[in-house]
């Protein structure tokens, strides 16, 4: 997850480089450090450095990292010839390298030859069965072929060993949600909340899944997590505000006969509604009428 300062720095550098102000190498290093996916820009600026022999020799040993970065960006933009050239250069320099083997596998993936890529990855895994990146590539391949259930299975096996990898849990949760297996997705989101309790994104996603599951207990828990999202984001998250209103009205519907209203936070709904109206007035004033209508229908 990229923090706000890092994001502003990245955007500033990007603008600078785009408008011809130099600093391409710093931009590329920052992209590599933050692991963001800006493949077109990386490809353009990386190639401009690599094709200029003076700049290339100025890099020294970092030249090879740049080749790798540009190769991956080229594969992402489907410029497979560029990628093949970069990989050839790297192979000449590092003939027995696993990293280059991995790049070859990725190239096969990009071309669409799934079976050969699978063969390449399995042979790499034989040498080192604990290579996290190769495992992830196989899962990505299964996902790209549309075989979500196999991707989930592979990811489960991966998570049995590397259970502290929170990015993997996140991917697993999204896969489950895409297959509507909400209970399992809820479990994954709980893992995420455990590893990073102060990130509001996970609270919000967990609340969404619980709300979708339905049932009184889940709705009440979802309300609590929407509230925690509001708290963590200072009330600025529109989705959480909507979530609160929807949850409260859904709870009211489910417990219509019984008198089981929780008196914990009676004003929460009206406060959330007011906050939403204020937000809409600021940002989308023409939709304010729609909002007030729908909120009123929720209250009834």
């Amino acid at each position: 997850m990229v923090s706000k300062t890092e994001e502003t720095q990245l955007n500033r550098l990007e603008n600078q480089v785009d408008n011809g102000g130099g600093g391409a190498w710093e931009y590329l290093c920052l992209v590599r450090k933050l692991k963001v996916r800006r493949s077109e820009k990386v490809l353009k600026h990386g190639l401009s450095i690599l094709n200029d022999p003076k700049k290339r020799s100025a890099l020294g040993p970092e030249e090879w990292t740049l080749y790798e970065q540009v190769a991956i960006a080229a594969m992402d933009c489907q410029c497979l010839d560029v990628a093949k050239d970069c990989i050839k250069v790297l192979q000449k320099k590092f003939p027995e390298s696993k990293r280059v083997g991995r790049l070859n596998g990725m190239l096969l993936e990009a071309k669409g030859s799934w079976a050969e890529a699978e063969k390449a990855y399995s042979s790499l895994l034989e040498d080192n069965s604990l290579d996290q990146i190769i495992h992830k590539r196989r899962i990505a391949m299964a996902k790209a072929q549309g075989n979500i259930s196999e991707a989930i299975e592979l990811l489960n096996k991966y998570l049995e060993i590397f259970m502290a990898d929170h990015e993997a849990w996140r991917e697993q949760a999204e896969l489950y949600v895409s297959l509507q297996m909400y209970k399992q997705a809820a479990f994954c989101y709980e893992e995420l909340i455990l590893s990073q309790p102060t990130v509001p994104l996970y609270h919000l996603a967990y609340a969404d899944v619980l709300y979708t599951l339905g049932g009184l207990e889940n709705l009440q828990t979802a309300k609590k997590y929407y509230a925690s999202t509001i708290d963590l984001t200072g009330g600025k998250n529109t989705r959480a505000l909507f979530g609160i209103c929807l949850c409260i009205s859904a709870i009211a519907q489910v417990s219509k006969g019984r008198n089981k209203e929780d008196k914990e936070s009676p004003e929460l709904q009206s406060l959330a509604a007011t906050a939403l109206e204020k937000d809409y007035k600021q940002r989308a004033a023409n939709k304010l009428g729609l909002l007030t209508c729908s909120l009123r229908s929720l209250k009834n």
């Binding site: 604990l130 609590k224 906050a275």
Partner: protein, 284 residues
Amino acid sequence: MAEDLVLDTAIRDWVLIPLSVVMVLIGILRYFVSKLMRSSQVPDPKIVKEGQVIVRARNLRAAANFIPPKSFRSRRVYFSNEENGLLFVPKGQAQNAQAQMFSDPNMAMDMMKKNLSMIIPQTLTFAWVNFFFSGFVAAKIPFPLTQRFRSMLQNGIDLSTVDVSYVSSRSWYFLNLFGLRGLFSLILGEENATDDTQRMMQMSGFGFDPSKQCATCYCAATIFCASDFCAAWVPDSYRNFSQCFSQDHQSLGAEKDGLDIVQHEWALPKFEHRAEAVLRKLTM
């Protein structure tokens, strides 16, 4: 007996500085040799998995109050139940850290190699210092010392009336041995093989004493660089230990005990009140 001996500046030029330069060069040489000799370790899957289990259990303990009570309880059972809980180690298997280390041939070979790469240059340099630079006063320590240090610091000097502050070059060698660590971490980066001191701590922890000089080094360390030592040693050795030891069964048991103790107190209800307060402030 506080008469001031005047030491020849030639001593500084021809003893102190060359000795320091030689030790720096030997350190750099050892760093590159260790880089060449380093065998790539294939990580053991069981150890990796145990490490990850510990991290996950620790996360569970730390953030337990953020998930609903039922989920917490089910996770706790998953970790510490008797049959196939991840953290559960039957009593017979809990091994001593050292025994486990010695039973693994690869790790033992690695330790031997690292120890040798430390012992041999040390021995050679020490012998060289003794041969060429003994029998005269090399330096004066700026603070006064008691008589007990005389035997250690004034080896070559056979006069018992000389102030203990005047030391022989052997003590300069020890000073450099421990003091150049900071310099090496500056010029060689963090993980450098010249980090003798923590390895010596490891060895003395086993009751090993491969060479007599290590015992005197141990004493000298506590005198010369005590504070520098402790401050840097704890994180260094923790890292070093964790490579060998912390994935052993003792820490699994510790995590399990910690998890059993945790009382779950769901923090979410009070978030509702906080959210109310936030919204109230926002809509004011």
